[in-house]
């Protein structure tokens, strides 16, 4: 991956505490997996920045290499990759997600 693209992605995930790379946007998810994560974040009451990979082919491909994770959605909290749809949903069901999201308050 080119450094300029890596820097761009780094800038995006550091730009907000909670960043979700997804298909579509938080108001109109265009994929069931992305919609699931949006819903979970909404229930958790978390503010988050959405990044629509469908509008940016370079980011869409780059983010997969960035975290060695071949699928979208991808959730980042304070610059750290937290997981894709299955992991986020599981964390939510186990009641672990709030702790990860709310640690930003400290």
């Amino acid at each position: 991956m080119e450094d300029t693209l890596r820097d761009r992605i780094q800038g995006i995930i550091e730009g907000d505490d909670v960043v979700l790379f997804m298909k579509g946007n938080k108001h109109f998810p265009q994929c069931g997996f992305s919609a699931t994560v949006v819903e979970v974040l909404r229930r958790s009451g978390s503010e988050f920045q959405d990044v629509n990979v469908l509008e940016d082919p370079a980011i869409r491909q780059g983010i997969k290499e960035f975290s060695n994770w071949p699928t979208i959605p991808q959730l980042y909290v304070r610059g750290k990759f937290v997981g894709g749809c299955d992991i986020i949903r599981e964390m939510y069901e186990k009641g672990e997600l709030d702790a990860v999201l709310s640690a930003k308050e400290s």
Partner: protein, 84 residues
Amino acid sequence: MLEAEVLEERIRDGLGEVSHLVIRDLTGTKDHWDALVVSAAFAGKTPIEQHQMVYAALGELMAGPVHALALKTYTPESWAKLEG
């Protein structure tokens, strides 16, 4: 067209030891799948690392043929607890 057997073989080969594996074609179109994988190779790994291991085993299949893959990964111990 991808067959479930291909995915199964890749996952078994890639992980080495797989004690339980269920792969389902969610849509009947052989591109949206879910997989339940139980492997001792997951021991001591984070969920992210466990999923990365499965993705790595599937390799280039994740970049095209597999449009969606819902994953559940367990160690034999965590799986036994769930079953129990």
